[in-house]
């Protein structure tokens, strides 16, 4: 950029001030300076250009990749379209939503499974991650190694996860049936095929990933807690449990909010594990899997798929709005 605008400004002068003098040489600059509009005109054309790019480009990318697709999806959810010719788009009112709610059998099981997923993550996976973090935060030997082990699932690729859990859950040769002593017998549990148990099998696999993620966040949170708080608590005679639940845990409030939001969002976008098991059918229906089923590939029904996507969007907005209110509400109070 040009020299004047980029020169580090003195603490008490705005970066724009230097530029203004240059611009002020113009015919009208001096006369307007004290006016009400002067504040706006402190920016030179060059600054405005730079600003336009710096603000405009991200906005444009956001617009192109986030807002337009979202708005198109919402618009398409009220139409029927075969995806071929734009002329073929026909208005359908709320037919697609009626179809999803009334006629599409996998929809309500998918809703239930998403809720079950949320409850399971919130009551089992997240506390497990917290427990791991607290344990690893003690000065035990090999803490780093354990951390790496528990975090590994978060980094593994989808295909690998599929293979790993297949080794556990396979009906005839899986480890689990072998340990239960039922492998190869008719009593062997079909962990992926039996629609009564496969959602639980999938949630255990999801926990395996989610707990590692939560553990990492809480480890960072625990490191950030001021040690003097613990000291004060122990001087006041609190035992370890009291110290943790009454002092340390509330002190991690920012992390807690992040974890709550992550847990909710993870349960809403839960997709990969059920998709590699059986593409989200036969007891593993999830809304995200239904969206993919209806929008991608040969089974494409754009109207219905968009309606499902909009439903998922609306549900997802609730925790996001909650999070934003908490975050910005706190900032404005500060």
């Amino acid at each position: 950029m040009s020299t004047t605008a980029e020169k580090p400004a003195a603490p008490d002068s705005e970066p724009g001030a230097a530029g203004r003098t240059t611009a002020g040489k113009g015919h009208s600059g001096a006369g307007r300076r004290p006016g009400k509009a002067g504040k706006v005109r402190r920016l030179t054309r060059r600054d405005k250009f730079v600003l336009a790019i710096m603000v405009g480009l991200p906005t444009l990318i956001q617009l192109l990749l986030v807002w337009l697709p979202t708005l198109f999806s919402i618009a398409l959810s009220f139409t029927r379209w075969n995806g071929l010719d734009l002329k073929d788009i026909k208005p359908a009112g709320t037919d697609n939503y009626r179809f999803v709610v009334q006629d599409y059998p996998p929809f309500w099981p998918a809703m239930q499974h998403n809720i079950l997923w949320l409850v399971f993550l919130a009551l089992i996976a997240t506390p497990l991650g917290l427990l791991l973090a607290v344990l690893l935060d003690q000065k035990i030997r090999g803490s780093k190694i354990y951390q790496s082990i528990f975090f590994t699932p978060v980094m593994l690729s989808l295909a690998l996860i599929g293979v790993i859990w297949q080794l556990f859950y396979n009906r005839d040769s899986g480890l689990l049936n072998y340990l239960l002593g039922t492998a190869g017998t008719p009593r062997a549990v079909d962990w992926f095929g039996d629609s009564n148990v496969n959602i639980w099998a999938a949630m255990v696999a999801a926990t395996w990933r989610h707990a590692g993620y939560v553990m990492l966040l809480y480890l960072a949170g625990l490191k950030g807690v001021d040690p003097s708080l613990r000291e004060a608590a122990s001087i006041d005679g609190a035992n370890a449990v009291q110290t943790f639940f009454r002092v340390v845990f509330p002190a991690m409030r920012p992390v807690n909010i992040v974890i709550v939001v992550i847990t909710i969002i993870e349960s809403l976008r839960a997709f990969d594990i059920v998709y590699i098991i059986n593409r989200g059918t036969n007891g593993l229906e999830l809304i995200s899997a239904l969206v993919i089923q209806n929008l991608v590939g040969e089974g494409q029904v754009i109207g219905v798929g968009s309606a499902l996507a909009v439903i998922l969007l609306v549900i997802s907005l609730i925790p996001i709005v909650f999070y934003l209110i908490r975050t910005f509400g706190k900032e404005s109070k500060a």
């Binding site: 015919h27 405005k48 192109l64 599409y104 962990w191 095929g193 039996d194 754009i302």
Partner: protein, 438 residues
Amino acid sequence: MAANLDPFQSAHNAGPGRRTILKTLGIGAAGLAGIPLLAACTGGSGPAPGASSNSLTFGSGSSDDVPKNAYKAVTDAFTKKTGVTVATNVVPHNDFQNKINSYLQGSPDDAFTWFAGYRMQYYAGKGLLAPVDDVWATIGSNFSDAMKKASTGPDGKMYLVPNYNYPWGFFYRKSFWAEKGYAVPKTFDELKTLATKMKSDGIIPIGFADKDGWPAMGTFDYINMRLNGYQFHIDLTAHKESWDQKKVSDVFDTWKALLPFQDPNALGQTWQDAAKALEAKKTGMYLLGSFVTQQFTDPAVLADIDFFPFPEIAVEGTDAVEAPIDGLLLSKKGGDNKAAHDFLAFMGSAEGQNAYAAVDTSNIATVKGADTSKFSPLNKKCADTIANAKYISQFLDRDALPAMANNVMIPALQSFIKDGTVDVKNLEAQAKTLYAAQ
């Protein structure tokens, strides 16, 4: 950037209007930067070589090694014979199928691989394909009536040139059946009697796998065609017939009698697992396409495999065979290219199909007079079954709207396998919405 800005800065006369222009310019530049992103979204392939009469482009979804090499053998033979060069674009088959909509509307190749059935008829009806009646005028005598019927579009014109197909039937191990004294059942009642006997012998009578959702459609199709006839299958899958009628519930009721004999672990296994169970003599027979033999890598086992057609139930005996046909189509653009027509004619000749079958031996050439000297007895039987068939169906997911097959029938059949119930009213309600969206 500073250098670029200087000229603007020296424009002292710049009023607010000029600033607005500058701002607009900035946003415009950013907008230009976004255009490649948009273009990338459409996923169209690059411009194809010009359609002159001594070259053509060929889009192939046959991306696995064997069929890929087989099509290469065909194009090489065609080039050698006519001097026409063929530029082949091979696309992974799932991508090819999933992107067919944008492919046909963008810049498709002249000729491309596709299937018979509703999926061909649909694009023909939308005017995205070029008819090849001129080709059929020369190759027509090479094909059976059933093949011709399967290659015809909704307007009565010819669109497809078949390459190969594979029949669906009950596969079993000859030695195992001889040892146990089982005989091939001719009727549905005989099938049930045989299955009862097998069950009492402690084996699972009918191998079955439906984790992937589609294999169960084979059972549905066959019972439907044996009960209600081939034409009903076609009308039902094209949604000219309602799903909410007694004929459809009868199919499920008939199937229900067979359910106790089918592998109870179907929902947890893939067809490959079920093929292994057949090989290991855990199951007595297995209803699948002849591609099941790909799983039998031991030549001794492969030689021990035989099959019989789905037994007759009520109408048409065993006239209808489920034998999905793969072949070639011309895109609208390819219709203007004489060389592309010649290429399809070559594919419809014994010479072209022999070149293919010499590399890919797991399928059955569709042309009369194809080289059968390398056929195994099983291949020969497959070929005879197809040749003698009065009607050839294409499998539910090719005869029906894909959304109907994948989004509606897969969950419906899986839940039927689970508890033996199905809600035909709901099937019809879903069919109505989905077919209306096309």
